[in-house]
Amino acid sequence: MSRERIEVRGLTKTYEGGDPRRPTLDRIDLDVPRGHFVSLIGPSGCGKSTLVRVVAGLEDYDEGSVRIFDSTPRQMCAAKAVGFVPQSPALLPWLNVRRNITLPARVNRRAGKGSENPDALLRMVGLDDAARKYPHELSGGMRQRVAIARAFGTRPDLLLMDEPFSALDEFTREALQWHLLGLWERMSTTVLFVTHSVREAVTLSDEIVVMSARPGRVHEVIPVDLPRPRGDEVTGPRGRALEDRVRASLRGAWESGAAPDDLIPL
């Protein structure tokens, strides 16, 4: 038990109707020290989203334990200490940008948690001009920035992000990565970040957790020893070497897993 890390121990989960011999998550062990940025990467269907939802307290599990800074996921949510950024921006279309960002402050007031100044947040994600706009007036990248600002709104201890950038083009994506890193460095939040992009994982993370599919397991944890703040090293030889290492590990994860369901011929 530690107040300074997220500890996942022997986490096993099979969805209702799933094959119990091949659990969606199979004895997952994971350690995330406070303040670290950790990426989850792995073949489609290996259980990344499921793992994130379990850590967010949105999903039950069969065996094992999840402790976040010595609390349960539910206690963390009750204290509004968790920020969640889903793959789609999930904004409320009837609220303008500013009201969307202050939404976390307006629900669950019992938690008594302070919140970030919305105007400062908007400035940090470069949306000060769009405060009065409605989501349907924004581009996809702007919407995702609003979702990120909203998640930072409660100054969460833990930020969970499930492929937040996967629907964006490459340029927008890179710009948002820098926005995110800026916010993260300023707020010293712990981040668990799901991605499909090796480059993205290397750019952002302190550690990259490579998962394998069917059953969903932790295949390898690769530390990213690039200096921060991140800059040219990411695209330099060290960054590329790390990318190659992650790709090789992913290939290994792919081969060690059972054949993906979608590749089994009918």
Binding site: K80, V82, S88, A90, L92, P93, W94, N108, A111, H136
Partner: protein
């Protein structure tokens, strides 16, 4: 959901994508499509031509067969000869229609809310509501007159029953059509059920509720007229007027009353459209270029 109804098909997202007015958005300016002025002949000419053709056909039939269709001029003169008569009767019918909607839609809305929060209620109420919906109200109306006397009550009840179901189905669907990711965000914030209901489910259901209103407001006029038809002792209302005039073969009166009913229906639709523009400016149905 196993139940199917007329209203279940009124998906608010698919309604009227190409409506001429909506708040200006940045996307449109660059779209290269120029907005047509409502004064341009390309906008009004087709409607005018269609109306003129129907009018001409009507007059042609009416000229030879006064007992099939009355002359349009005759209908106009009837309306003009005693406007207060028509206004009073229209008001009488309108009152029944609006009271019926208020009760029917109001009850349906409250029940939909309760059902969304208490699943047991849902299983209890839904089958009853379906049975009520498939029962022809016309068949029920005489019994309601016996039960509630000859005043306004039985007519309001008939109208309420007619308008109840579409609202129930649509609002129920609306309250449940909250997207998973948004709900996840609310749950990670540990929002209470009441907060989820007020800040998420209710606004989400608003487009569905208004789509139901679009169906139900004209329907309420039908309900009120049918109720007046069957309520033997009724002495006012356009429905009563139509029944009595038809019995005396006064076709101009019948069609004058029908014209009043149609006008009321159009006004109600205009009102819903106004409401939708006001309340749903953020919704896809109000955008001209859905992406």
């Amino acid at each position: 959901m196993a139940t199917v109804s007329k209203a279940a098909g009124t998906d608010p997202r698919r309604s009227r994508r190409t409506r001429p007015q909506s708040p200006p958005s940045r996307a449109r300016r660059g779209s290269g499509r120029r907005r047509r002025s409502p004064l341009s002949p390309r906008v009004w000419l087709p409607t005018v031509v269609a109306v003129a053709l129907v009018g001409a056909a009507w007059s042609w039939v009416a000229a030879g067969n006064p007992y099939i269709l009355p002359e349009l001029g005759e209908v106009g003169r009837t309306l003009a000869s005693d406007p207060t008569l028509f206004v009073e009767n229209a008001w009488s019918t309108l009152q029944i229609a609006l009271l019926g909607v208020a009760w029917g839609a109001g009850t349906a809305f409250v029940l939909a809310l309760l059902m969304s929060e208490i699943p047991v209620l849902r299983r209890a109420i839904m089958p009853l509501a379906v049975v009520l919906n498939v029962t022809p109200v016309v068949a029920l109306a005489p019994a309601l007159v016996v039960a509630f006397g000859f005043g306004m009550t039985p007519k309001v009840v008939v109208t309420a029953i007619v308008t109840f179901f579409p609202v129930l189905i649509n609002v129920t669907t609306g309250l449940r059509s909250v997207s998973g990711p948004v709900l996840h965000v609310f749950r990670t914030l540990h929002a209470s059920r009441l907060e989820v209901l007020l800040k998420l489910r209710l606004p989400t259901s608003l487009p569905y509720a208004l789509a139901a209103l679009r169906v139900v407001l004209p329907l309420s006029i039908v309900g009120a007229v049918v109720a007046e038809f069957v309520a033997a002792g009724s002495s006012s209302g356009l429905g009563t007027m139509i029944r009595n005039s038809a019995a005396n073969a006064q076709l101009p009166h019948v069609y004058a009353a029908v014209a009043c009913l149609a006008t009321m229906g159009v006004l109600m639709l205009a009102l819903t459209t106004l409401l939708e523009r006001r309340l749903l400016f953020w919704h896809e149905s109000q955008q001209r270029n859905p992406s």
